[in-house]
Every structure is written in structure tokens, then in C-alpha cells.
């Protein structure tokens, strides 16, 4: 598979999306990468089944309350910074920052006590003060605006940066989109199978240069009765084969082409697979129902003919500029209950070691408040969950000293922390686990070279 035709085809797709908005900074790494087909074909990790689930907490989760400092001195500093919205120490579920320690450095939010216990059991890990970066960034680099992410502190741009892993190019494709296309090139069994599923919307994360996530709902794919009528269905499909000079009409037909066939394929495969979980395995909440559908889709992997599947689910409403304490708690309860159920479900079907889930959010929030809420920040904390994860560990550097001025090297004001671990580093670990060879990581994380030998977080063996 070192055929030069394949090589140029693939190079075109990746350049086609990353390069088009002229983010010149990322071009060199793409122009110099090696023959990716050969790299993937040689990668034995492509064997077996794996699934990746992104749990997107839209609006900017206040993750310094989701996972707060616990040890007495640090908690006192935290309460000093957050006199109104801070969580009392005795309400937190204490956890160690590494699995060989008996000390309790951090604490999970009272809504997430079960999650804290799951972390301690080794099924989950934390990435501390993670966020979007173009490269490792010092406070001076921030002040001189040197290589900063586009649209810092803005919901839209930061959501996109988390999803593209190209923080200085809001027009880049999604990192899972790029990864699925890369792996699908050698996964002939799944050629016509959608590997990427989105529960709602058209999130960038699942958008590659030639493919997009397939939108399903918590009830499956939507195909209504009308298309069971052959004449209507054929006429409808014919409208999608019209040739237009209008780019908008071209895009419209492009976006809908094949969607009915895909929906039927999915629904038929799902119908052929039994529900191994039962009606009460998942909480009847927005996120619970989404993760239930994810679990069912994973359970149906054989009838869907899939070796790799990726999913994005989301939970909105985290933008608490006011009344943070009262409003965040029920959302975190929903998150906790859904994640616990999903982890159990994966054990039920023997897929616990094959599935990794992680939380992402627009940004962390200001540690110093505005009264009863917090404003848009930058770095925050993520949870990574699954049997393959080296759990009960906190990766990266948690900003323990939260007093005003207590973390001067990362605090750009009001406790808006420059991330000490990049989203790119998390994605590099996840991509490698999912089956991307070392030599192809730069396709998934174009700014890879900025991290030198420190790229990998170390989540997996």
C-alpha cells in the first residue's frame, strides 16, 4: 500500500480541509508527513473493536466546582477565591491525585459522589487544567498575544477548537472526523457503514473532509412513512441527483444524499440486535437517553459491521453567570447518573475495555466570581472513563492555589487559567489508543510538534 495514487488522494483530503482557510502555521507538518496508508496498515492496533464517546458539556462547565481542591489549605484558598459559589469541604467526595497515594487532594462535586468512587476504583481519570492551545503558552506569551487560540472565551470558537484540535483555525475539520477517515481507508469491512454518530446537531468534531457524523436520535434514525412509498422515495432521491450551478443547492444535495439508505441500514441493524440492558439501566434524562442509544449502537456493532465507532452526546445549559450553585448541581447529577449507567452497561456487554468516554466543554470558568456565578474562562477539568484508562490518576497540573494572585504563572486575571495541558495532548492519547500510528498523529493533532517529547498525557498503557 505504498502506491503514490493513494498517497496523493489522502494528502489531498487532509490538505483540503486543514489548509483551506490558510492557517499557514499548520501546513509544514502536513506537507512532510509520511505515507499514511503504510503507517496504518502496519499498525496492529486497528484490530479488534473500539469506541470513543465525547460527552460535550455545552455552555462552559464550571469544572473547578466539578472537581475542587480538597486538602485543607488548598480548600481554604479555594473558598477564599469563591466565598459565594465554593463548595464546603465536607460536601466533596475526596479523591487522591494518583492511585498510589492515600492522600485526598481533590474532591468531586456533591452531585458526583458516585463518579468520585468510580475514579477511586480505577475506572476513570482526570485531566486537570486542560484547554485549547496552539502551543504551550506562558503568561508572557499570552500578554504579547503570541500564537493564541482564535476567539478565546467565546462559546462558539472555543467549542470549535475543542472539536477540531486546531485552535487557530475555526474552519478546520473535526479531529474525530479526520481520524475516522484515516482509519476507514483500511477498514474495508465498514466501507459503507457510518462510523461516526451524533445525537443531535451537526457537530464539527465528526466532520471530516469527505464525511460527516450521522445524526441519530434517542429513538434511532429518523425515517418516516413517506419513503416507504417507492415512487416518492425514487422521486426524492432523483432530486438529490440534480446538477446545480448554485453552490447552496449543491451543498444541500450533498448533505442529504444517501441519508435515507443510511437510516434504514442503521434501523435494520438495530432491530436485528437485542437490547441487553433492559428498560431501567439508564436514567430517563436527556443525557441518559443519549448514552443509552450509544450503548445500544455499540451492542449492535456486529450487525452494523463496525470495528470502530465514535459518538458525540451533549448536555447543554452550563453557562451559569448567575446562581451557579443551585443550577449546576442538577446538571452534574444528570451527568453523574448517565456516566455511571454507561460504565455499568459497558461491563454488562463485556465492552468495558473497548470503550473510552471523555468530557469536553467550551472552557473552564473564572475562579473569582461575579456574585453568584462565574464568567467565561479558559482551562478546566475533564473526566476520561473506561477500562483501558489508567484510572484513579489526575493527569496534568491542577492549579491548587486558587487565591487571587496565587497562581501567577497561569492566571491572566480573575482566575482565568492558561491551560497547562492542551486539548491536543488528550486527543493524541485518545487517537493512539483508537489505532492511529505515531507517524500519523500529526494528521489528527496538527500542532503536534509544538509539544516535542511531552505530547502524550499517558492515559493508556
Amino acid at each position: 500500500m505504498t502506491d503514490s495514487t493513494n498517497f496523493s488522494k489522502n494528502r489531498r483530503h487532509f490538505l483540503g480541509d486543514c489548509g483551506k482557510m490558510a492557517s499557514l502555521a499548520i501546513l509544514p507538518s502536513l506537507l512532510t508527513f509520511k505515507n499514511l496508508n503504510a503507517a496504518v496498515a502496519n499498525n496492529s492496533n486497528i484490530d479488534g473493536y473500539k469506541a470513543l464517546v465525547c460527552v460535550f458539556l455545552a455552555g462552559g462547565n464550571d469544572s473547578f466546582n466539578m472537581i475542587a481542591p480538597y486538602s485543607t489549605a488548598n480548600h481554604r484558598n479555594y473558598m477564599q477565591a469563591r466565598p459565594v459559589v465554593g463548595i464546603p469541604q465536607n460536601e466533596l467526595t475526596p479523591i487522591p491525585t494518583n492511585n498510589s497515594s492515600s492522600m485526598s487532594h481533590l474532591g468531586f462535586h456533591p452531585s458526583m459522589g458516585q463518579m468520585g468512587r468510580m475514579y477511586r476504583s480505577g475506572d476513570a481519570a482526570i485531566i486537570a487544567n486542560i484547554g485549547t492551545l496552539v502551543r504551550p503558552t506562558t503568561i508572557n506569551a499570552y500578554r504579547s498575544k503570541n500564537s493564541l487560540p482564535t476567539g478565546l472565551f467565546s462559546h462558539r470558537e472555543q467549542q470549535l477548537s475543542w472539536q477540531t484540535s486546531v485552535a487557530d483555525n475555526t474552519a478546520a475539520s473535526g479531529w474525530i472526523g479526520r481520524m475516522s477517515e484515516l482509519l476507514n481507508d483500511v477498514d474495508t469491512t465498514g466501507a459503507d457503514t457510518s462510523l461516526m454518530f451524533s445525537l443531535g446537531g451537526s457537530p464539527r468534531i465528526m466532520t471530516g473532509s469527505n464525511s460527516s457524523g450521522f445524526a441519530i436520535s434517542t429513538d434511532g434514525a429518523n425515517v418516516l412513512d413517506l419513503y416507504s412509498d417507492t415512487s416518492v422515495r425514487d422521486a426524492y432521491n432523483a432530486t438529490l441527483n440534480e446538477r446545480y450551478t448554485s453552490l447552496l443547492k449543491q451543498q444541500y444535495t450533498h448533505d442529504y444524499k444517501g441519508i435515507i439508505d443510511k437510516a434504514e441500514f442503521y434501523n435494520n441493524a438495530m432491530a436485528a440486535s437485542n437490547d441487553p440492558f433492559g428498560p431501567t439501566a439508564f436514567p430517563n434524562t436527556g443525557l441518559g437517553n443519549q448514552l443509552r442509544q450509544v450503548a445500544l449502537t455499540i451492542a449492535a456493532k456486529d450487525s452494523l459491521n463496525a470495528k470502530r465507532q465514535s459518538f458525540i452526546v451533549s448536555q447543554g445549559g452550563y453557562d451559569f453567570h448567575q446562581n451557579l450553585t443551585a443550577r449546576q448541581a442538577p446538571l452534574l447529577t444528570e451527568l453523574n447518573d448517565a456516566l455511571i449507567a454507561f460504565n455499568n452497561a459497558m461491563k454488562t456487554i463485556g465492552m468495558h475495555d473497548n470503550v473510552v468516554s471523555y468530557t469536553a466543554s467550551d472552557f473552564g470558568r473564572t475562579v473569582l466570581g461575579n456574585g453568584t456565578g462565574s464568567d467565561h474562562g479558559w482551562g478546566g477539568n475533564s473526566i476520561v472513563m473506561g477500562g483501558a484508562v489508567k484510572g484513579a490518576n489526575t493527569y496534568g497540573t491542577y492549579p491548587f492555589n486558587m487565591t487571587d494572585g496565587g497562581s501567577p504563572n497561569i492566571d491572566i486575571g480573575r482566575g482565568r487559567y492558561i491551560p497547562t495541558t492542551s486539548v491536543d495532548q488528550l486527543h493524541a492519547d485518545l487517537a493512539h489508543w483508537y489505532g492511529v500510528g505515531n507517524s500519523d498523529i500529526s494528521l489528527i493533532v496538527p500542532h503536534e510538534s509544538e509539544y516535542g517529547g511531552n505530547l502524550r498525557v499517558g492515559l493508556f498503557d
Binding site: G151, A171, T207, D234, R243, Y244, L247, N370
Partner: protein, 613 residues
């Protein structure tokens, strides 16, 4: 399978050759994406005027109808095209939009539903008062004579949304906020922003309500929420714009207009707003009164007294809170990017997602000065948006003798006018609510249809919002239903976009959400309203009142032609028409409602309907 879909090429080989030929033709010329309409010679000019009128009304109203299109076409015949459109605009600009709250109250009174802010079901109608916020919106959108105002209010709501759940006093707050936008449909950008800034519902939505000045020495800062979004989304945008083009740096990345320091400074301005006290014991933090003018009240002791420096300007310390807000809104609407940023948002809601640069320049120039020195005049801006030659002359409409019947004239609409730089990027996807409104208006959905069904009249589409993925008063976030700068990452558009002048398609962000095309959704909604009978897969829109006029001989062809003229502005693909005629026409020529409704379903799913040029 009975029918051959591509009837004009009877064999696979013929089809292949034809396709190859078409590719060659397309390479040599612009591909003729237009429809041909064959009419009697004497009628040709009348049909051209109908197409011109429906094209205009598709952009200026909630949907062309046979009656409104015919009336406007007649005026074109009498006084000329642009004169007729300007006359129509003048007439519309002088109309006052009826407040939605008044409409809702009238509907509630007539239905005999209990007037309550909470969820109380009517004993027999299964209706709660709060549903009337949606009923009133639909009634006005579909049936109001102030169609330009309705379209404008809907546009403003998409740009400056507030969410249902932030209605502090039940469903009435929703309507009050919508009425605020309706009242400002034809005022100025500055006045609109001021009313929005003082709106309690906006205050709740973006937490400027009860936003205290804080105490920075104690680590308590002003809430930045409204400050950030009023700049980023409602007035100037985050990126620098020079002469209708995004400014880019040496790496080709866009340059931002301001930093987070500007945000922290402007955040000081929007402190001190709360409700008026309902009694003497209430404070800034628990005030629950309502002022006579419906606005939040400035509590000076909770307003930040310091200087505020942002966008290179400084507001002095110790001014009144109201003065600070006034100065700030002046700075924003006078900022250099506002004419381009806000004009472009409006252009996207009416005519095209991506404006060609000269079009945007012309509209922005009108924003800067309406001709009488007034800045941000929405009346002048909407006229400039609708009457620009890029938009009005987007179609080339030609007449030739019909080669298959020389007693007839063939009218051809070519949407590919290459004299405009962006011709292939022009147009917009009708957003789901507009598609639905277009469809309902064309097929004469009216109140009477529901009588005898327990309802007293009015179109009452329960849950329509959730069903089409675009809920009235339920935007996904402060970004509304879609991002103004959404662009598809793969597909035909992706190759055409540039950082300084991107091709954007906001409404496309919603497409995969309703993974099945809209007609299915319409079926679901209308089924609940008994407009259609849904008990078999064969009945789609069969009870639509407007469908009745097409039942009978040769009616399928007539239906297709009318949809082409009135809803597609003459742009329906010829091959699509031929395919439908073959797929659905009965050999006997007797077209029943089922067959007709299937044609409607397919047509409404097509790119030709979804995209207006």
C-alpha cells in the same frame, strides 16, 4: 416499479450519454438550472411579472401566496417592477405591527381559556394559556397584512434571541420580548439595542438583571455575559472588518477587534440593572416589580462608578448608569465594523447567506447614512437589502418560442447571472420555520379548517417548534438557532471559502438535525391539526385546503407549474418536473389528492425549494 424516473432518456445508455453530454455542456456553458414555463404568447409578460413578484415576496414576507403575488404582479404591469416594489415597501413600512400580547389575549378570550400564567388546561380543548404565545406568533406570521414587519421581527428574533425558560412572569414575558422586537422592526439599530438592553427578559437570559458592580478588592467582578454578547453578536462582531472584508494577519488568520480586557471594562457598564421594587422592603437583589414602561430600572448604588475603557474610548467615571449605557450603545453603533456586521446579519435573514462585497458595501453605506444623516435606520437598510440590483436582477428571465408548440412562449429563468462575482454563492436556505410558513401560506391554511374540531378557529400548531427543530422562543443558545458564520467543512462549498471573505451558510447548521427533510415534519405537525389524515402512508397533505383546486384532469402539471411560479420563483428544475410527472401522473390523467400531495412532498424536499436565489 411502474415509472421510469428519468423518462426523457429511455435507456440506461441513453441516460449515461445524456449525463455525459450534460457534463460537457455544463463545462462549456453555465448549466441551465432553470425551469421552462410554456404559456400562451399573450400571457408571457404576465407570467414574467408573477415570477418577479414571487421572487421579491419570497424574500420580503413569510411566503408568497397566489393572491399577494398576483396583486403585486399587477402593480408591476401598471407602474414598472422597481416602482411597484418600492410602493409595496412604502406601504409596509407605514404599517404598525399588532402586539402579539393583544392578539393572544383576544384568542384566549374567544376560546374561553382561563387567563393564567401557569399551565392550566382548558376542560375540553386540551389547551393551556401558555400555548397562546405560539398561536399568536403563528396567526400573525401567516395572516398579518404587515408581512415585511413580520419577516423583520422574525429576523430580529433570530439575531437577538431570548429563551422561553427565562420568562420570569410566565408566558407573557415571551410575548413582551417579541413585541419589543416587533416595535423596533423599523426603528434604528441604536434604539433596538437600547430596548433590548433594558428588557427584563434579556436581563434574565444574559444575566444583566441584578448584575451588581461587585467589589474587585474582594474578588467579585461584574458579570460579563451581556457585555460580551452585545458586542460579539448584536452589534460589532469579534473580528475586524475593513471595507466589507475581514482583516487577516500574516498567517491568513482573522484579526480580532478587541481583547478580554475590553470585555471586563464594558462589563462595568451593564451593572446596576434590576426590577423596580415591588414594595419598600425589596432590594436590588430581590426586586420583583414591573415598571410602567416594562424596562429594568437602574439602581445607581449598584452601578460601577469607575471609568470604562474599551474599543479605544473611555467613558468617564461617576456618570449615571443610564448615561453610561447610552454612551456605550453610541460607541458600539458608531464603531467601524457595526455597519458591515449588522447589515450582513440582516442580509443573511432576507436574501443571501454570503453577500457579494459590493452588495454589502452598498447596504453598509445606507446603514452609515440613510440619506438624511441618520445612522442604523432599519427602514432604509431593509429597503437597500431588498432592492439592490445584485438581488433584484439575480435572475435572467427570457422568452423564446416554444419549439414543441409554436403557439406558445417558453419562459426561461436563469439564476446563474455571471456578471455578479458571487453568483454561484448567492442565495439562502429557507430556515425550517420559513419553509413551514411558506408552505402553509401557499396552501391557504386558514382558521375555518379547524372549526368543528373543538377549536374556535385559528391555526394552532402544537409543538411545531420542537418538531421542525427551530422552536419559537427556544433558541439553542445566545447564538440563536445557528451561527451566522457556520460553514460546511466538506462538500462543494468547502472549497470556495477564504478567511477574509468566507462562504457561510448559517441555516445549513440545522440540516442534519432534521435528518429527514421538512415535508415529513410538516406532515407530523399538520397531522395533529387534522389538516391531513395520517392513518395511511398514502395520505400526506390530502386535506390541505389549497390542494382542492388542483384535483382533476391534468392537475398535476398545473400544480407543479403553480408551485414553480409562486414558491420556487420559476427556478424549479426542468428535469425535476419531468420526473415527477412521470413518477406520479396517472395514465388516466385523473389526479387525486394523494398523488398531488406526494408531488408536494417531493417538491418541498428538493434543493430547488429549500434554497432561494
Amino acid at each position: 416499479m411502474r415509472m421510469a424516473l428519468v423518462a426523457h432518456f429511455s435507456t440506461t445508455i441513453g441516460r449515461y450519454l445524456a449525463t455525459a453530454l450534460l457534463i460537457i455542456i455544463a463545462a462549456l456553458h453555465s448549466f441551465p438550472a432553470s425551469a421552462d414555463i410554456s404559456v400562451r404568447h399573450a400571457d408571457a409578460d404576465k407570467y414574467i411579472r408573477l415570477i418577479q413578484a414571487s421572487h421579491f415576496l419570497s424574500q420580503a414576507t413569510m411566503g408568497p401566496t397566489v393572491a399577494t403575488t398576483t396583486a403585486l404582479a399587477a402593480r408591476i404591469g401598471a407602474i414598472g417592477r422597481d416602482e411597484a416594489f418600492n410602493e409595496w415597501i412604502n406601504n409596509q413600512l407605514n404599517k404598525t405591527l399588532q402586539p402579539s400580547l393583544i392578539k393572544a389575549d383576544a384568542m384566549i378570550a374567544r376560546d374561553g381559556v382561563e387567563r393564567s400564567t401557569s399551565h392550566i388546561n382548558h376542560p375540553t380543548l386540551n389547551l393551556s394559556t401558555r400555548y397562546y404565545r405560539e398561536f399568536a406568533w403563528w396567526d400573525q406570521a401567516l395572516f398579518s397584512g404587515s408581512q415585511l414587519g413580520e419577516r423583520m421581527a422574525w429576523a430580529l428574533y433570530q439575531i437577538i434571541p431570548a429563551h422561553d425558560r427565562d420568562a420570569t412572569r410566565g408566558w407573557e414575558d415571551n410575548l413582551k420580548y417579541m413585541d419589543l422586537l416587533r416595535k423596533n422592526a423599523f426603528t434604528t439599530h441604536r434604539k433596538l439595542l437600547e430596548d433590548v438592553t433594558y428588557s427584563p427578559m434579556m436581563g434574565k437570559f444574559l444575566s444583566s438583571l441584578k448584575n451588581d458592580k461587585g467589589d474587585e478588592s474582594l474578588g467579585i467582578f461584574p458579570d460579563e455575559n451581556f457585555a460580551r454578547e452585545v458586542m460579539q453578536l448584536f452589534s460589532i462582531g469579534i473580528y475586524d472588518i475593513n471595507d466589507a472584508t475581514f482583516v487577516t494577519d500574516g498567517n491568513g488568520n482573522r484579526v480580532e477587534s478587541y481583547t478580554n480586557t475590553d470585555i471586563t471594562q464594558i462589563a462595568r457598564v451593564f451593572t446596576g440593572l434590576s426590577n423596580p421594587p415591588a414594595n419598600a422592603n425589596q432590594t436590588f437583589f430581590n426586586a420583583s416589580g414591573t415598571s410602567a414602561n416594562g424596562r429594568m430600572l437602574m439602581w445607581e448604588e449598584h452601578h460601577h462608578q469607575g471609568t470604562k475603557t474599551f474599543l479605544g474610548q473611555t467613558i468617564p467615571a461617576n456618570q449615571s448608569g443610564d448615561q453610561d449605557i447610552s454612551d456605550t450603545l453610541d460607541i458600539l453603533t458608531n464603531y467601524k465594523t457595526a455597519p458591515y456586521f449588522f447589515s450582513n446579519l440582516l442580509i443573511q435573514r432576507f436574501t443571501t447567506s454570503t453577500a457579494n462585497i459590493n452588495y454589502l458595501r452598498r447596504v453598509a453605506a445606507v446603514y452609515k447614512d440613510n440619506g438624511q444623516g441618520l445612522r442604523g435606520d432599519l427602514k432604509a437598510v431593509i429597503r437597500a437589502i431588498l432592492m439592490d440590483p445584485t438581488i433584484r436582477d439575480a435572475f435572467k428571465i427570457e422568452k423564446t418560442i416554444d419549439p414543441s408548440d409554436n403557439s406558445k412562449t417558453l419562459i426561461t429563468v436563469d439564476v446563474n447571472i455571471e456578471r455578479y462575482a458571487n453568483h454561484d454563492k448567492q442565495g439562502r436556505l429557507r430556515e425550517p420555520m420559513l419553509q413551514l410558513a411558506n408552505f402553509l401560506r401557499f396552501f391557504d391554511v386558514d382558521a375555518k379548517e379547524h372549526e368543528g374540531n373543538g377549536h374556535q378557529g385559528d391555526f394552532k400548531p402544537l409543538w411545531s417548534q420542537m418538531t421542525v427543530g427551530q422552536g419559537i422562543r427556544q433558541p439553542i443558545s445566545v447564538f440563536g438557532y445557528y451561527s451566522a458564520d457556520y460553514l460546511p467543512i466538506n462538500g462543494p462549498v468547502a472549497n470556495k471559502t477564504r478567511a477574509h471573505r468566507p462562504v457561510v451558510l448559517p441555516e445549513f447548521e440545522l440540516l442534519p438535525t432534521f435528518a429527514v427533510p421538512l415535508n415529513e415534519k410538516i406532515e407530523e405537525i399538520t397531522a395533529r391539526q387534522s389538516i391531513i389524515q395520517r392513518h395511511t402512508t398514502n395520505s400526506v397533505f390530502t386535506k390541505l385546503p389549497g390542494l382542492a383546486r388542483y384535483v382533476g384532469n391534468n392537475s398535476l402539471a398545473q400544480l407543479i407549474q403553480d408551485l414553480n411560479i409562486y414558491l420556487f420563483s420559476g427556478t424549479m428544475s426542468k428535469s425535476l418536473q419531468d420526473e415527477l410527472l412521470v413518477a406520479l401522473d396517472d395514465t388516466s390523467g385523473a389526479n387525486d389528492r394523494i398523488r398531488l400531495s406526494k408531488a408536494v412532498a417531493v417538491l418541498l424536499s428538493s434543493a430547488d425549494f429549500a434554497v432561494t436565489n
